[in-house]
C-alpha cells in the first residue's frame, strides 16, 4: 500500500523526465566543453617552423628586427598575426632569435645598438645583447625562439605568444658567459 504512495505513475514519469534531461544535458555538455577548451587542448602540439628570410639579410655582429606571419592563423586575425622578433647574428650560422615580448609582462622591447641593450618602455626592464637580464623587474632573460638554418634561410620555431609561465628560460650558458664578459673592465 505504502509503495503505491511513494511511486505513483506521474511521480515516476516526472523522475524519468528529470533523468532524461540530465542525460541530454551531459551529452550536450561534452561538445560544449570541448569547444570551449579547444584552444587550451591544441596548445600541446609541437609548434611549426617559420622562415624569416635569407641569412644574408642579417649582418654578422648586428641585431635586426624581423617580422613573420604567425603560422597558426584565423581569417579574422588581420595584422595581429604579424609578429616581430629580434634576430642577432653572432657569426656565420650562429644566431639568437629573441621574442620582442619583455620577460616581465610582455611589452615590446627595443634594441639600442649604441649601448648594446634591449630596453622595455613599460617598467624599465633591460637586457644585454645576448638577451640575458641586465636590470629591472624581469626575473629572467628574453624569450628565445629555437632556430635552424636550412639552405641559407633562417627558420624559427614559433606560433605561440611567449609568456613567463609558458616558455622555458634561454640557455643558461649564453647568459652566464656574456655577463662575465660584461663585467671585465676594458682598461684593466
Amino acid at each position: 500500500m505504502s509503495n503505491e504512495i511513494l511511486m505513483t505513475r506521474r511521480g515516476l514519469f516526472m523522475k524519468l523526465g528529470v533523468l532524461l534531461n540530465g542525460v541530454v544535458g551531459i551529452a550536450l555538455a561534452v561538445p560544449f566543453v570541448r569547444y570551449l577548451f579547444a584552444s587550451a587542448t591544441r596548445a600541446s602540439r609541437a609548434l611549426p617552423w617559420v622562415q624569416l628570410g635569407g641569412v644574408n639579410q642579417f649582418p654578422e655582429g648586428e641585431t635586426r628586427l624581423a617580422t613573420f606571419r604567425n603560422p597558426i592563423v584565423m581569417p579574422t586575425d588581420g595584422k595581429t598575426a604579424d609578429t616581430a622578433c629580434w634576430v642577432r647574428r653572432i657569426e656565420g650560422e650562429q644566431f639568437q632569435v629573441f621574442a620582442v615580448n619583455c620577460a616581465h609582462l610582455g611589452c615590446p622591447v627595443r634594441w639600442f645598438p649604441q649601448s648594446g641593450l634591449f630596453m622595455c618602455p613599460c617598467h624599465g626592464g633591460a637586457y644585454y645583447r645576448d638577451g640575458s637580464r641586465a636590470s629591472g623587474p624581469p626575473e629572467r632573460g628574453l624569450f628565445e625562439y629555437p632556430f635552424k638554418v636550412e639552405n641559407g634561410v633562417l627558420t624559427i620555431q614559433a606560433g605561440e605568444l611567449p609568456t613567463p609561465g609558458t616558455t622555458a628560460p634561454a640557455s643558461a650558458t649564453a647568459m652566464a658567459g656574456e655577463r662575465l664578459e660584461g663585467k671585465k673592465p676594458p682598461c684593466a
Binding site: S39, G78, G106, Q114, S115, C122, H123, A126, P137, P185
Partner: protein
C-alpha cells in the same frame, strides 16, 4: 485622459503589477536617509543604464574582428554622425561608473550598511564591483588599439604565472596561441553578453534586497546592531520616523542621477572619445602601452614591487582582497555602525585611498620607465658644457650616444629610471664612477662590454664635472694618502683648474 486610465486598467487586470510597484515605491524609509549621502547606488544604476544604451548604439557599427575593429572605431570617430560622441559617452560613462560604484562602496562601508541583516546585499555588491571592473577591463580591449593589444599581452603574462594551470589559462584567455582574432571575439562575448548579463542579474538581486530589507538607517553613534533586536528596532524606527521613499527621498536620487549623466555627457562633449591609439599591429614596437585610468595603480605596483614579490602579490593579492571584502560582514556583522566610533574603518579607507591615489599619480608620469628618445631628443644643457675640456665634452657625447640619458635626467629632461646625475660627482668618487659604469649594479646594467677604455675615461671625466659650483666633488682620501697629493688621475687637474675641487 480617460482613455489612458482605461488602457492602464486593462493592462493591470492582466499584469497585476501596479499594486506591488506602488508598494515598493511608497515603502517607508527612515526620514534621515533622505540624504545626499544615499544617492550613489541609484546613480551607479543610472550610469549603467546609460552604458547599456550607448553600448547598444556602438554595437550597431563596431565590428568585433581583429582585422576590422580598429577601422570601425575610426569610422565611428570620423564618419558616422555623432559616432564620436556616443563613443566618448560610453568611455566617460565607464569612468564615472567605476568612480560612483567605489564611492557607493565607501559610503556603505563607513555607514556600516553591510552589517546584519544586509550581509548578502554587501556580498552581491562586491561581485557588482568585480563585474564593473571586468566591464572596464574588457571595454579597454574593445578599443582594439596598441594599448589594448599589449594590455592583453600583460594580462596573459600575469595569468601565465599561475602555477600548473598558467599555460591553460593563457590559451583559454587568448582563444588561441597568440593575441589575435579569437581573442577579440572572446573579450567581445564577455563584454557584451556574459558580464552585462551577470551584472543585470546581480543588480536586480541587489535592488530586491534593498527593498526587502529596507534602506540602512542613518547610523547613530552608540546605537548598536544586535541580531536579536535589530529588525524590530528598524521597523519601529520606520513607523515612528519614516516617510514614503517616493517622493520623500527619491527626488535627491533623481537630481544626482541627472547631474552625473550630465557630467559624463559634458566630459564626453568637451574631451571627446578615448583613442583609439595606433593600429594593433604587433610589428610596430615603438609603443609604450599604458592601462586605463582605473588600472594605473596596478601598473605602478608592478614596477615598484621587488621582482621576487611580484608573482605572489599578483596571484595572492587579489584573492586576499576579495576574500577580505566577502568576509567583512561576517567578521563584523554586529555592533557599532557609525564611522564616528569606527576609527580603524576610517583609517582603512583613508589608507587605501591614499595608496591607490599615490600609485595612480606615480603612474601618471611613470618614473620607472626609460625615456626611449631622450638620448637623441634631449641635449645636454649648455651650461653643463661651459668651460669644459675636450675630453669632458667627448664624455658628454658618450653620455648621449650610449643612451645613458634614457634613464638618467640632466637638468630638466631625461629618464627618471636611475638617479638624476646633476650632482653625481658629489656622491661618487672617480673610482666609484668607473666601477658603476663598467659593472653596473643597483638596477643599472653593466656597460663594460659596450664602452671602449677611451670612452669610459671620457664619460667619467664628464661625470666628474657634474656638481654644483658651491659643492666640491667627492674624493677618495685614502687614495691621496697612498699615492700622494698631485699624482692622482690625469683628470684631476682640469677639475681643480675650474675651481670645483678642493684638493
Amino acid at each position: 485622459m480617460r482613455l489612458i486610465a482605461a488602457i492602464g486598467e486593462w493592462l493591470d487586470y492582466r499584469l497585476q503589477l501596479a499594486a506591488p510597484i506602488r508598494e515598493a515605491a511608497e515603502h517607508p524609509v527612515p526620514r534621515n536617509t533622505a540624504s545626499w549621502w544615499y544617492v550613489f547606488g541609484s546613480a551607479a544604476l543610472t550610469i549603467f543604464l546609460l552604458q547599456l544604451a550607448t553600448g547598444i548604439l556602438l554595437a550597431m557599427v563596431y565590428v568585433p574582428s581583429a582585422a576590422e575593429a580598429w577601422s570601425s572605431l575610426q569610422a565611428l570617430n570620423h564618419q558616422v554622425a555623432l559616432g564620436w560622441f556616443i563613443r566618448a559617452l560610453h568611455g566617460w560613462g565607464s569612468n564615472f561608473m567605476v568612480a560612483v560604484v567605489l564611492l557607493h562602496m565607501v559610503q556603505v562601508f563607513l555607514f556600516g550598511a553591510y552589517k546584519f541583516p544586509r550581509e548578502l546585499t554587501w556580498i552581491v555588491g562586491v561581485f557588482l564591483l568585480l563585474t564593473t571592473l571586468g566591464m572596464a577591463f574588457t571595454g579597454q580591449i574593445m578599443r582594439f588599439d596598441q594599448d589594448a593589444y599589449w594590455g592583453l599581452g600583460i594580462g596573459a603574462s600575469i595569468a601565465s604565472r599561475v602555477p600548473v594551470a598558467g599555460p591553460m589559462i593563457v590559451s583559454m584567455m587568448l582563444g588561441g596561441p597568440i593575441i589575435a582574432g579569437a581573442t577579440l571575439s572572446r573579450f567581445f562575448t564577455l563584454h557584451v553578453f556574459v558580464i552585462p548579463g551577470t551584472l543585470i542579474a546581480l543588480v536586480c538581486l541587489h535592488v530586491l534586497m534593498v527593498l526587502k530589507l529596507g534602506i540602512n538607517e542613518w547610523p547613530m553613534p552608540g546605537r548598536l546592531v544586535r541580531r536579536a533586536t535589530y529588525e524590530r528596532e528598524y521597523h519601529a524606527l520606520t513607523r515612528r520616523d519614516g516617510a514614503p521613499f517616493v517622493p520623500y527621498a527619491i527626488w535627491k536620487d533623481l537630481f544626482f542621477a541627472a547631474f552625473i549623466i550630465l557630467a559624463a555627457a559634458g566630459c564626453a562633449w568637451y574631451f571627446g572619445p578615448f583613442g583609439p591609439t595606433g593600429q594593433p599591429d604587433p610589428t610596430i614596437i615603438q609603443t609604450a602601452p599604458k592601462p586605463d585610468y582605473f588600472f594605473l595603480w596596478m601598473y605602478a605596483l608592478l614596477s615598484l614591487l621587488p621582482p621576487s614579490l611580484e608573482t605572489p602579490a599578483l596571484l595572492i593579492g587579489p584573492v586576499v582582497a576579495i576574500v577580505a571584502l566577502l568576509l567583512l560582514p561576517f567578521l563584523s556583522g554586529e555592533g557599532e555602525k557609525s564611522w564616528k566610533r569606527r576609527p580603524i574603518a576610517v583609517l582603512t579607507v583613508l589608507l587605501i585611498a591614499i595608496t591607490l591615489g599615490t600609485f595612480t599619480h606615480l603612474a601618471g608620469y611613470a618614473p620607472w620607465s626609460p625615456h626611449m628618445n631622450a638620448w637623441s631628443g634631449d641635449p645636454v644643457p649648455d651650461h653643463m658644457l661651459k668651460g669644459t675640456t675636450a675630453l669632458e665634452r667627448q664624455g658628454a657625447l658618450v653620455f648621449q650616444g650610449k643612451q645613458c640619458r634614457n634613464c638618467h635626467a640632466l637638468g630638466e629632461s631625461g629618464g627618471e629610471r636611475g638617479p638624476r646625475l646633476d650632482s653625481v660627482a658629489v656622491r661618487l668618487t672617480e673610482d666609484q664612477l668607473i666601477r658603476q659604469v663598467i659593472q653596473g649594479g643597483g638596477n643599472m646594467p653593466a656597460y663594460g662590454k659596450n664602452l671602449s677604455p677611451a670612452e669610459t675615461t671620457a664619460l667619467v671625466a664628464f661625470l666628474k664635472t657634474l656638481h654644483p659650483a658651491t659643492q666640491a666633488p667627492a674624493r677618495d682620501a685614502s687614495r691621496e694618502a697612498v699615492i700622494g697629493d698631485g699624482s692622482g688621475s690625469s683628470n684631476r687637474g682640469s677639475v681643480a683648474a675650474r675651481g670645483g675641487a678642493e684638493p
